[in-house]
């Protein structure tokens, strides 16, 4: 990968990686740090990364940074972080979307990452398995469990609008 390829990767994938991280963490500053770390790692290993694999490499690095970050900050409640994140750049106006993101917050990191990688980036089971170091069947099962959990949250009597 050349410098030009790297800069092109920034242009194409920075938003995607940031979106993936910020939806997981629900904390913009931490998400920025992780994105920056992911791209720094890509820059350091640009000679060994092919341009076509840049996106997958970035998501893989970002995912593992995300896991490390959440493990270190386990004591902090995701819910509290989300509630305190009043200055988030995104604002979900619609109630359904808000409930959906609340439901997303109830998932564990792996399930949430699988849902985000699937819905946001459109990765296949195999590609998600490469990023998350899971098998294809594990991805499929974990992802289906996450969907059913979200559905259960959405159709629960207290969440019905």
């Amino acid at each position: 990968m050349t410098e030009k390829d790297y800069n092109e990767s920034v242009l194409l994938y920075a938003d995607n990686v940031y979106r993936f991280i910020v939806k997981n963490l629900r904390h913009t500053e931490d998400a920025e740090d992780i994105v920056q770390s992911a791209f720094e790692k890509l820059w350091m290993h640009k000679d060994s990364v092919e341009p076509l694999k840049a996106k997958s490499y970035l998501f893989t690095v970002a995912y593992h940074l995300l896991i490390d970050h959440t493990r270190k900050a386990k004591r902090i409640s995701l819910q509290e972080s989300f509630e305190n994140d009043t200055q988030a750049a995104y604002q979900e106006n619609k109630a359904l979307k808000k409930v959906l993101h609340e439901a997303l917050a109830t998932l564990n990191e792996t399930q949430r990452s699988l849902v985000l990688l699937k819905d946001y980036e459109g990765y296949s089971y195999e590609e998600i398995g490469e990023i998350t170091k899971l098998t294809t069947d594990q991805v499929r099962v974990y992802l289906h469990r996450a969907r059913l959990k979200l559905r259960s949250y959405l159709i629960s009597p207290q969440q019905v609008l």
Binding site: D15, Y18, W43, R140
Partner: protein, 283 residues
């Protein structure tokens, strides 16, 4: 592909939400859903779990670029103060006159002949003047005693005329000179008694290339004294004829050129030109 039933349709629905079904499975699932309302409600509930892609952009993306803004160092504007002196203007060249081939050939032949016959001197002088007999030299060379210089000159001229008549190749320079001297002294003495041994000591003769002085011993010539005016007159006439030949010389710039020397040359040049023109016409 397994048949879709009430026991496994949820798995098909989840895969349908994830976009993991192929076309045949999708058509079969949609057909099953239309037949089973509970499956239709389940599909609607699962579709709600699908996240829409938000329009979130990375806030500090510019920090991630590497060397995307290269620093351009502008060159210093150093101006040479005396640049105007360096400009050059080509001087007007003399116009080139293109000569035709025959003109160039004629010029070349002319120059060749000039060099060949020594008409041109490297020092710029004319051969004619160089080879002409100097007046004092003749007078000094003539060992005649008791005769004035002018008379000696005349005698030499006359004697030379006689001798030259025998030698056809004698250069005309000497004759011209002698004739000229003769003209200067129109008062020809009536009688000559000349012992003209080696009188033509310095008389130039033409030997083909170089005009040099040929030492000739001439028999004693005794002209009749006064009574033989006719003979002297004849000689004078001959001299006059030769003097007329001096008119053959042509002044070309600072050079005096004898026409006779180039008479054959011009003929040859004309013949060559005519031949070439004829060849062209034939072609």
């Amino acid at each position: 592909m397994q048949n879709i039933s009430l026991h496994n349709y949820q798995d098909y629905l989840l895969r349908y939400i994830d976009g993991a079904l192929d076309l045949r499975e999708t058509e079969a699932l949609l057909a099953f859903v239309t037949l089973h309302p509970e499956a239709q409600e389940e599909l609607a509930a699962l579709e709600l779990t699908k996240l829409e892609v938000p329009t979130i952009s990375c806030p500090n993306k510019a920090l991630l670029y590497k060397n995307i803004f290269p620093v351009i160092v502008e060159p210093e504007t150093i101006v040479y103060p005396h640049k105007q002196k360096l400009f050059k203007k080509e001087k007007d060249k003399a116009p080139v006159v293109l000569l035709k081939w025959w003109a160039m050939g004629a010029a070349a032949v002319f120059l060749f002949m000039m060099v060949r016959y020594g008409i041109l001197d490297q020092k710029g002088g004319t051969a004619l003047s160089k080879n002409s007999i100097p007046k004092n030299n003749v007078s000094k060379a003539s060992p005649l005693a008791g005769v004035k210089n002018n008379d000696v000159v005349n005698t030499v001229s006359l004697s030379a005329t006689k001798v030259v008549t025998d030698e056809k190749n004698m250069t005309t320079n000497a004759i011209e000179y002698a004739a000229a001297q003769n003209i200067e002294h129109q008062t020809i003495p009536t009688a000559y008694t000349v012992s003209a041994l080696e009188t033509v000591q310095n008389m130039p003769s033409y030997n083909g290339d170089i005009i040099d002085v040929k030492r000739t011993v001439i028999a004693e010539i005794t002209l009749p004294s006064i009574a033989n005016n006719e003979e002297a007159t004849e000689i004078i006439e001959t001299i006059d004829t030769e003097t007329a030949s001096s008119n053959r010389s042509v002044m070309v710039g600072a050079f005096e050129i004898d026409k006779d020397k180039f008479r054959g040359l011009f003929r040859k040049v004309n013949a060559i030109i005519k031949n070439k023109e004829n060849n062209k016409n034939e072609k």
